[in-house]
């Protein structure tokens, strides 16, 4: 396999035949596999995904367009030691995020202490005044969090961003594993891979534990989806199915006797916990965007009255805002009293004059992102951009600097994928999924590995041509 010495490859070590430790068994296996057979397996995987309908819709294209996220059959393997270090850092960060959210919507101690500038909150669109003074049932704000990590060296991991609103991708994590188990059962007897399949049951338990006060032990849970045209619809129906809950849309729900109830064939049935995969803005036309048809009129009032749990709570976006991101090390320290275990990527806030000047001067070296953007849309990867792209982006930046942050172009680690010509390194990131209940924090071992399939590309988003891999955490 050709190597690029400037990037850390997770399987191969430069100049050595032996792969890195966690990949030893796998490497021995793949060496004795027939390449033609492997390629056939790869195309089998695609057929499997298409028949199962594991597809996503791409915004801006024909509504009928359903695409597959390409799946690569080479797993990404993490050792027990690496994972235990990572998971401690993730847990610490997620605790801090929940403490921060509680504080921000109550006493705002962190602002009083001057650790985060008050205007950053007050002027932030992700801050929801409707949540001031509201305490969510069980005290949990972010029931589900996705923490996006990148790696640059053997022991160097960075948090690229936090996803505290409605992180998606967990269904791919589960289906990827299912696919691998079906295609290569022998790999799982040769390697002790920690299972991930209990995620839906854990999610269900975690949601049930967050039910509002009085319940009989079996709270009614439902998943709220924007509908079949949403890009993540497959995941919504997958999770509802696996948890054994109903999958509802806004028009199935109505305010009945002070509670949110779903229309069943036998009348309206009240819901205790709503795992909503609809953004804050569309949740309640009476309280937020009045044109929304995806939400339920009055649901915010029921929520404030403590008669339903919304997962995640409204207003959590203030914690994963890219402008807040640069303060995360301070936030972790402020609430946990410990140094942050996971590093942040150095970040220039373009709202600050000095930083803006630096960013403008070094645009071709940096990655510049919109503060509220997601999915890889509207971002600039300096080193990969043409002159024309750079100059048009410079104009956008000058017009509204506060809307952007910039980061150095990280040397993302690579993991091999199977190409027509054999194994070849491609850049990856990792999204572990974290479940928060009033009792505990559970991190699914591994998570979703996204991989940039284009040679040299650093953008792993599925909307931009990225694929996924099964992610293994090995047992001790």
């Amino acid at each position: 396999m050709q190597q690029n010495a400037s990037f850390f490859d997770e399987m191969f070590q430069p100049g050595e035949d032996e792969p890195r430790e966690p990949y030893r068994n796998y490497k021995a296996w793949i060496n004795q596999e027939n390449p033609a057979h492997l390629k056939r397996k790869a195309s089998e995987a695609e057929t499997f995904f298409r028949r199962t309908g594991i597809t996503f819709n791409v915004y801006g294209e024909d509504e009928a367009t359903e695409r597959l996220i390409p799946f690569d059959i080479v797993p990404r393997i993490i050792s027990a030691r690496e994972w235990s270090r990572l998971s401690r850092g993730i847990e610490q960060r997620v605790r801090a995020i929940n403490a921060f959210l509680h504080d921000i919507y109550h006493r705002q101690e962190i602002l009083r202490a001057g650790r985060v500038p008050a205007r950053l909150i007050a002027e932030n669109e992700a801050f929801l005044p409707q949540m001031i003074g509201v305490s969510p049932p069980g005290g949990v704000y972010t029931h589900v969090v996705g923490v996006d990590l990148v790696r640059t060296g053997a022991d160097e991991f960075y948090v690229l961003e936090d996803n505290a609103r409605t992180p998606s991708g967990v269904s791919y994590m589960l289906e990827n594993r299912e696919t691998m188990l079906q295609m290569f059962p022998e790999l799982f007897s040769a390697n002790k891979v920690v299972p991930v399949g209990s995620y839906p049951q854990n999610l269900r338990r975690s949601l049930a534990a967050s039910t509002p006060g009085k319940h009989d032990g079996k709270p009614v849970i439902a998943v709220l989806t924007p509908g079949i045209h949403n890009s993540a619809y497959f995941e919504h129906s997958f999770l509802a199915d696996q948890m054994g809950t109903e999958l509802v849309e806004g028009h199935d729900l109505k305010l009945v006797d002070g509670r949110i109830a779903m229309r069943t064939v036998r009348g309206y049935k009240p819901i205790d916990v709503l795992y909503r995969r609809v953004d804050d803005d569309f949740l309640d036309p009476l309280n937020f965007n009045p044109d929304s048809v995806l939400g339920v009129p009055g649901i915010m009032d029921v929520y404030r009255a403590g008669n339903i749990t919304l997962a995640n709570a409204p207003g959590t976006g203030i914690a994963d805002d890219k402008a807040i991101y640069s303060y995360m090390p301070d936030i972790v320290e402020f609430y946990t009293g410990e140094k942050a275990l996971l590093q942040n990527v150095p970040t220039w806030r373009c709202s600050e004059a000095d930083s803006l000047a630096y960013v403008q001067e070094h645009l071709s070296e940096l990655v510049v992102k919109e503060v509220h953007g997601s999915g890889g849309y509207g971002m600039l990867v300096g080193p990969a951009a043409s002159k024309k792209e750079l100059s048009s982006f410079a104009k956008k930046l000058a017009k509204d600097p506060a809307n952007y942050i910039a980061q150095p172009t990280l040397a993302l680690s690579t993991v091999p994928i199977l190409t027509q010509k054999g194994l070849a390194p491609r850049h990856v990131d990792l999204r572990p999924f974290v479940l928060v209940s009033p009792e505990n924090i559970k991190i699914t071992p591994g998570g979703l590995t996204r991989v940039a399939l284009k040679q040299g590309s650093l953008v792993v988003n599925s909307s931009q041509g990225g694929g996924t891999k099964d992610t293994w955490v090995l047992e001790e």
């Binding site: 298409r50 028949r51 199962t52 309908g53 079949i228 619809y233 129906s237 509802a240 199915d241 109903e246 999958l247 509802v248 849309e249 028009h251 199935d252 779903m262 229309r263 069943t264 064939v265 036998r266 009348g267």
Partner: protein, 313 residues
């Protein structure tokens, strides 16, 4: 169960049934066009009418030429009952109610959709039609097999069956409605080759030409055919069969939910009306009026089910 889910199941299976019925009508018409020297446009017109899409057809085409009808019934998106439109709508509903379906049923539906979308991407030539119709038949058999083999016999299954029999009864009644005049006693000169072809077409369009012979020997009479399609409870596409199944499945829901609703009265009434009738009485009172009454009542039951089980807001 959510009202929306019940509605999704009901419509998913109506559309699946419809795609099959449309293909079957086309098959009957096509066969007649092969066995008769000159197929009048009248015959194709009656096929299109039986599919319930005559006005849509006439908006699109000036003549009932064979290739126009083939294209319209198989793949025209402007025809809501074309095989392509029906399987598309069935799959949209299936996606909506996916959590109520077994993996097998979902995958069979999804695969049917993928197969038929590809198959019907380009206009179908006459010489390829038999193979295409064969594939359509095979695909719906796969979905039906997955349904019967893997689904729990609970309310989910009941709503699926209710949609199936409502659609099927409607389809058979429309065929009778369009062709009733060939079954009238006044034209009963048995043995004329013209009428044999007409009757055969009717039987073929409900896939019953062989089973009719099994039951009636060689004796093909208009009254026999009318009796077979309307009152025979062994024949899975007859009005009596569909009405009885509809009432049965609604009855299971009544038991399951411990609630009797107006749709139960309507369905049992229709079932009993078919059960307590004879073909002579029907002929005497007017075959045409009887069939139209059935279509009207069947539709009313559908609307009542939709209301009673809260399919929409």
């Amino acid at each position: 169960m959510l009202g929306k889910t019940a509605g999704g199941l009901f419509w998913m299976f109506r559309y699946l049934e419809r795609s099959e019925n449309t293909a079957r009508l086309l098959e009957a018409g096509f066969r007649m066009s092969l066995t008769r020297s000159a197929v009048g446009e009248d015959e194709w017109r009656s096929i299109v009418s039986a599919a319930g899409v005559r006005s849509q057809f006439e908006e699109r085409h000036n003549s009932y030429a064979t290739r126009n009808v083939i294209d319209f019934l198989l793949r025209d998106p402007a025809n809501p009952s074309s095989v392509k439109s029906s399987i598309e709508a069935a799959r949209i509903n299936a996606r909506m109610v996916r959590i109520a379906l077994t993996r097998e049923v979902w995958e069979a539906t999804n695969e049917s959709w993928m197969t038929l979308t590809k198959l019907l991407a380009d206009p179908i030539r006459e010489r390829d039609l038999p193979a295409v119709l064969g594939t359509i038949r095979q695909q719906s058999a796969l979905v039906r097999g997955a349904l019967h083999g893997t689904m729990l016999r609970n309310d989910i299954y009941d709503f699926a069956r209710i949609g199936t029999f409502l659609e099927r009864g409607d389809s058979t009644a429309r065929i009778l409605d369009v062709k009733y005049y060939v079954l009238l006693p006044s034209i009963s000169f048995v043995g004329s080759s013209l009428d044999n072809v007409q009757w055969e077409t009717i039987l073929r369009s409900v896939s019953a030409h062989r089973s009719y012979r099994w039951l009636n020997g060689g004796e093909i009479t208009p009254k026999g055919i009318a009796n077979f399609l309307i009152l025979d409870r062994r024949m899975p596409r007859s009005l009596a069969f569909c009405a009885a199944k509809l009432a049965d499945n609604l009855g299971y829901l009544e038991g399951d939910y411990q609630t009797r609703l107006p749709c139960h009265d309507l369905a049992e009434h229709l079932r009993d009306r078919l059960r307590n009738n004879t073909i002579d009485m029907i002929m005497e009172d007017g075959l045409h009026e009887f069939v139209q009454g059935y279509i009207r009542d069947n539709l009313a039951i559908g609307n009542e089910i939709e209301r009673n089980y809260r399919f929409t807001g």
